[in-house]
């Protein structure tokens, strides 16, 4: 049975629909991430779970029990807030002890728990420090410590790493995974950062405009995006109009590519997704189509190049650099071509993510 279940949740603010008949099941001991652009309804979902918002319609079930109208302080879950929300008039130990004191734990128990939690977040000895004296990353870890000492069944995390710099964010990602494995608590994580989502999650839920676009493991989401929105939102990709000529054959930009997808019918317009790292660059005539390199940027491990071919600007990544102006060929192995149905209706239409 699912630990938490959201059933047909709808919620609108000022007449604007944020969640529409939203359904989600969260299993015990799962690291599940709600991923999407701002305004997609992910934070609202989290706040409904935390009890800070009441859905207009629908139910929140916890182990099958309806907790839709239960006050936040009665729910068996704790939240790590985006801006940490540490109490500025209390020191670190008092912040961590806040929930434990309320639940009437003994002094020894509380002291032990504070020590344990601080050790867990690598901040031993910080008991007497003031909130102001801590850096952003340290404050965030205290916020996590304050939540986990209460041994919640579920930890809700609302973009907790959003305010940290890149290096710290990456460190914290690994710490969160470690914490989750050590504690055995279910994590529900909200972020707009696809890298964060892919790194940490057991399951990623990609959301847009109040709907779930795709749900799956990070590998599934990355390798087999179900629609252009997901493909565009997760990682870089070439999304191209194509025509499925017959099973296993797709025509893109005037050239015919072999692929492995079947069952789309004959001469059907489709969306084709090709990841930039999957584009094979070769000498002219050796690939499927020829083109010219129009830009070339070194971005660390590899070079990111644009190749003009067949009237489309292909984004390609390669560890070998091809200077601008070079004539090259491009090719793709059949299994790296992802074919998707064109959106049928307005609702399904993925919004542009050019920004």
């Amino acid at each position: 049975m699912a630990l938490i279940e959201l059933v047909d949740i709808s919620k609108s603010f000022d007449g604007e629909l944020v969640l529409d008949e939203f359904n989600l099941k969260i299993k015990e001991n799962e690291f599940i991430t709600l991923l999407g652009p701002s305004g997609c309804g992910k934070t609202t979902t989290l706040r409904i779970l935390g009890g800070f918002e009441t859905p207009d319609t629908g139910k929140v079930l916890f182990q099958g029990e309806d907790i839709t109208n239960l006050a936040p302080n009665k729910r068996p879950l704790n939240t790590v807030f985006q801006k940490y929300a540490l109490f500025p008039h209390m020191n670190i130990a008092e912040n961590i002890a806040f929930g434990l004191k309320i639940s009437g734990k003994s002094k020894e128990y509380i002291n032990d728990k504070i020590k344990y939690a601080l050790k867990l977040v690598n901040l031993s000895g910080f008991e007497k420090r003031s909130v102001d004296s801590l850096s952003g990353g340290q404050q965030q870890r205290i916020a996590i410590a304050r939540a986990i000492v209460n041994e919640p069944r579920v930890l809700l995390l609302d973009e907790p790493l959003g305010a940290l710099d890149l290096k710290l964010r990456q460190e914290m990602q690994y710490e969160l995974i470690r914490l989750k494995n050590e504690l055995g608590i279910t994590f529900l994580y909200v972020t707009h950062d696809q890298e964060e989502a892919l790194t940490m999650s057991d399951k990623v839920v990609v959301m847009n405009q109040g709907y779930i676009q795709q749900m799956g493991t990070p590998e599934e989401i990355y390798n087999e995006p179900e629609n252009a929105f997901v493909a565009d939102f997760i990682g870089d990709s070439n999304i191209i109009d194509g025509v499925m000529l017959e099973d296993r054959v797709v025509k893109i930009c005037g050239s015919v590519f072999p692929c492995i997808d079947e069952g789309f019918g004959r001469n059907k317009p489709v969306d084709v997704v090709i990841r930039p790292e999957d584009i094979i660059i070769g000498k002219p005539g050796q690939g499927i189509m020829d083109g010219v390199v129009t830009s070339n940027v070194f971005i660390g491990v590899h070079y990111e190049m644009c190749i003009e071919a067949g009237g489309f600007e292909w984004l390609a990544q390669n560890t070998t650099s091809y200077p601008v102006g070079t004539r090259v060929s491009i090719g793709v192995t059949p299994e790296n071509i992802q074919i998707m149905h064109k959106p049928q209706s307005e609702d399904e239409e993925a919004i542009s993510l050019d920004d």
Partner: protein, 278 residues
Amino acid sequence: MTKTSMNSNLKRLFSGPFLAFILCGTLVPLGVIAFYGFTDRSGAFTIENIMAIATRNHAQALGLSLGLALISTVICLLLAFPLGLILKDSKLGKKGFMVFVFILPMWMNFLLRTMAWQVLLERNGIINIVLKSLGLPLLDIINTPAAVVLGMVYDYLPFMVLPIYNALIKIDKNLIEAAYDLGADKLLVLRKVLIPLSVPGIVSGITMVFVPSLTTFAISTMLGGGKVNLIGNIIEQEFTVGSNWNLGAGLSIVMMVFIIISMALIEKFDREGEASMI
């Protein structure tokens, strides 16, 4: 002339009127008060004017002033904090409007407002006329300390509401949600988060109600009818009717000392309070 020195000269020029105001409006009068307070009519040094506070009617007046100021401050605090909470969470129209309604009376001269209460509370005043017509017992508080406290509370309540409201709306909503999230009920959120974090507002509210209440003579004159003698009334009479400026100045100095002591006590409580309230 370099640019920076010109700038600092300009700044000095602009601060001139302010310095002149401080000098003429605060420092010189304080010096004059000190001079009068520590001299007799012939101009010789004496501490008699200061010691005069020990005489029975002066000490009584000071005691009554402290008592009434304390009572009205407590009443204002008890009214203003819940009011601040209500205003903070108010969904009635624009928040600014509700606050505006409470601040509106502040724009009226407080003598007028006090006079209004005089008319309302009089033996044959509006309240009693209404009570009489309803067959209810009459209200007889005009010219009593109760009427003076009522006047103080009415006149100074906005000065308590504003700083408390300002402190309350500045509290990060996430902190309140975090407290609920960690299992706190409404009362605990109030005790552990809202009250401790609004202490600066509470302290300035207390200051802004307590000090004018302690020194008022207008409210006690109008609503006390000469029967409620506060230290402010005595000082005023020494300067006007009694024309003993030396005694008036001496008593003023004593009152200033009491104000400073009270403020120091509040500050001390504030700091200790912040540390112990956790």
